[in-house]
């Protein structure tokens, strides 16, 4: 029983990580039609930003509120980089989707390489707040606290995104834009502002995932973002490409399947079964689990 609890909570923690990355991806894809390969780089930037702040930024550190400050710094850097990328590189290629995708491919290579050039290719130990290193007893299982941190953050983010989409004007613009961008502009709305916002918000979530992923894994390396990105892509596709709730469901599904299979079969089988899951979902429901926004 305790194993199942531990596996489930760990799987949900992983799902939370996937959701944080995938939610931004699916918003960007839904609204802009861009499959953002640079998203993994945003994650890496956020992780290294947090790591750097914990060591160098006055007031920031690896415990309590000073760690929160470090995370805030990392997320801010990730957000800024994402917004800058959108404004400088994606926006000029407005409506030229394939070129936008190619640009993000180039960026994903270049940004990860830059991080590697600055901080080296080796993994670095990530600051972990003491609370996250302890465990909590849940139904007889000793669950590491970082799982709860991840799940809690993802739930907060999910609720925040749903509130944003459902009850703000910009959310209305985003939902309408996912359906029909042209008609949104034909109502006199500059849809490009929503693009920048969505990119920045996506970057913020990815950076947050980078920071929390660092806590979860205990270390960070430049290539971490890219490998997480692939699973995030799978989550987005299973979730129906542009649906936030669909993405959340898919993330939970993928996280749990991966954990269970890795434990009960063999290490690595979890990853395989996720790919199998993707194939099954696509073959039975080619448009993914859900095709609606929010």
């Amino acid at each position: 029983m305790s194993t199942i609890v531990l596996l489930t909570v760990t799987g949900l923690g992983l799902a939370a990580l996937y959701f944080l990355v995938a939610s931004g991806l699916s918003l960007i894809f839904g609204l802009m039609g861009v499959l953002n390969f640079a998203h993994g780089a945003f994650l890496t930037v956020g992780a290294y930003g947090t790591w750097w702040a914990a060591g160098h930024l006055p007031g920031a550190g690896s415990t309590g509120w000073s760690f929160v400050l470090a995370v805030v710094f990392g997320v801010a850097v990730g957000t800024a980089v994402a917004a800058l990328v959108e404004l400088a590189l994606i926006r000029p290629l407005y409506e030229r989707h394939i070129e936008q995708v190619l640009v993000t491919v180039g960026l994903s290579l270049a940004m990860v390489a830059l991080v590697r050039a600055i901080w080296g290719a080796d993994a670095r130990p990530f600051p972990r707040p003491e609370w996250a290193q302890r465990t909590t007893s849940l139904l007889g299982a000793n669950v590491p606290n970082d799982r709860f941190l991840l799940i809690g953050t993802a739930v907060v983010v999910l609720v925040a995104v749903l509130v944003l989409l459902r009850s703000t004007r910009i959310g209305l613009v985003i939902r309408a834009g996912v359906e029909n961008r042209t008609m949104v502009t034909a109502l006199g709305i500059d849809v490009r502002k929503a693009f920048t916002l969505v990119f920045a918000v996506g970057g913020a979530f990815a950076a947050l995932a980078g920071s929390l992923g660092g806590v979860y894994l205990g270390s960070i390396s430049p290539g971490q973002g890219t490998s997480l990105l692939i699973f995030a892509f799978i989550v987005v596709v299973i979730g129906g490409m542009s649906s936030i709730t669909g993405t959340a469901v898919a993330a939970v599904l993928v996280g749990l399947v991966q954990q269970y299979a890795n434990y009960y079969a063999a290490s690595g089988v979890g990853d395989l079964s996720v790919v199998l899951l993707l194939a099954v979902v696509l073959l039975t429901r080619p448009s993914g689990l859900s095709a609606k926004v929010a």
Binding site: F29, L89, G268
Partner: protein, 373 residues
């Protein structure tokens, strides 16, 4: 039409020049470190030619048929690892290993393609990406110690003909790579001008229209997917021999992305463009690494030295610049310079168009045309 005599014989002339190149003892100061026929230079050139061929096999999918696969690395890596295992673990001869690789190189893309091609657009790209990731995970997990994990797998040279072993025989590896490139070039030229080649181009232009003509796009896409996968797998064997081992780097999604970079850099949908892109990328990747460790760069201030020390940073940035300012890549640039408006039937598609064409495949299904096509 006036450029046909040159155009038709240019590949042949280049082939001859490349074939006799190892006999030259030229010293090319900036471009290469040693003599042109020194083992180091020849190995670099062999890799350039090999990746030129590999990029062309990818262009067959992406540029000519419009299939944006993110999993081409799987077949290349499959080629090196299968051949390596056959030689090293099973102790087979090179011929038998080649046969096995051919079989795997046909069956693997057939299996993946038959599933992946049931969906189209981004979903197809994602399925290929995911399956390639399986390959990567498999190699890194090192099941049963067969793949060597992160260390890679060294080749047992005892099973390889002596002609391909040893520093002095680097020239043979060079010729082998040249043969590979030539084979890929001839095959791609041939099939793109074949009856099926016409259909591939048409699928890139408008898949549903092809269907209404009574052809099943699925079959044609599967055909080109298998063909490109097989060519990549054979390239894997050459890579194995040139490097003397298999490296897990060839399994990564980054590797496929670099193939995409090569093709777009050179010009998607153009045969020589893709080859040139592969050659150029490989050359730059290698030379920029050398440059990074050169004293000239080491003495630079840190803010310059750090980015310059990562070739992939420079290549990635160069790629972004090309996408922005040189649509259609090098081939597109040359095409515009020649400003030929009408293209003969034997030419490939205009390189710039390919990227344009694929727009719809990546788009988010906006309010599109309403009458079915």
């Amino acid at each position: 039409m006036r450029s046909v005599p040159i155009g038709r014989f240019a590949p042949l002339v280049i082939l001859v020049v490349l074939a006799v190149l190892p006999y030259s003892t030229l010293q090319v100061p900036v471009l290469f470190d040693g003599l042109l026929n020194s083992p180091g230079t020849l190995q670099l050139l062999a890799l350039c030619l090999l990746f030129g061929g590999l990029a062309l096999s990818y262009d067959l999918l992406f540029g000519f048929t419009g299939l944006l696969s993110f999993g081409h690395a799987l077949y290349f890596a499959g080629g090196t690892y299968v051949a390596n295992l056959a030689l090293t673990e099973l102790g087979w001869g090179l011929g038998a290993a080649l046969l096995l690789t051919t079989a795997v190189g046909t069956v693997l893309p057939l299996l993946v393609g038959s599933v992946a091609l049931r969906v189209s657009g981004i979903a197809f790209s994602m399925v290929t990406l995911a399956t390639a990731q399986v390959g990567s995970i498999l190699v890194l997990q090192d099941p049963g110690g067969y793949t060597g994990g992160e260390e890679g797998l060294a080749l047992d040279r005892g099973q390889v003909p002596d002609a391909f072993v040893g520093v002095f025989n680097t020239v043979n590896l060079y010729w082998l790579a040249l043969v590979y490139l030539t084979v890929v070039y001839v095959v791609v030229s041939w099939v793109t001008r074949s009856r099926a080649g016409r259909v591939w181009q048409a699928i890139r232009e408008n898949e549903r229209r092809v269907e209404v003509l009574g052809l099943r796009p699925y079959t044609f896409k599967l055909l080109v997917f298998v063909l490109a996968g097989l060519l990549a797998a054979l390239g894997g064997v050459v890579h194995l021999l040139v490097l003397g081992g298999s490296t897990p780097r060839t399994t990564t999604s980054e590797f496929t992305l670099s193939l995409l970079v090569m093709v777009v850099l050179g010009g998607a949908g153009s045969r020589w463009g893709a080859v040139l892109g592969g050659v150029l990328y490989t050359y730059l990747d290698s030379r920029l690494t050398d440059l990074a460790s050169s004293p000239a760069v080491q003495d630079l201030p840190e803010w310059l030295r750090v980015p310059l020390s990562e070739p992939l940073f420079l290549l990635g940035s160069l790629f972004v610049v090309v996408v922005f300012f040189v649509p259609g890549g090098i081939a597109g640039l040359v095409d515009r310079l020649r400003s030929r408006r009408r293209r003969g039937e034997d030419d490939g598609p205009a390189p710039g168009r390919v990227v344009e064409q694929l727009k719809d495949r990546v788009g988010a299904g906006m309010s599109g045309p309403r009458d079915g096509i």
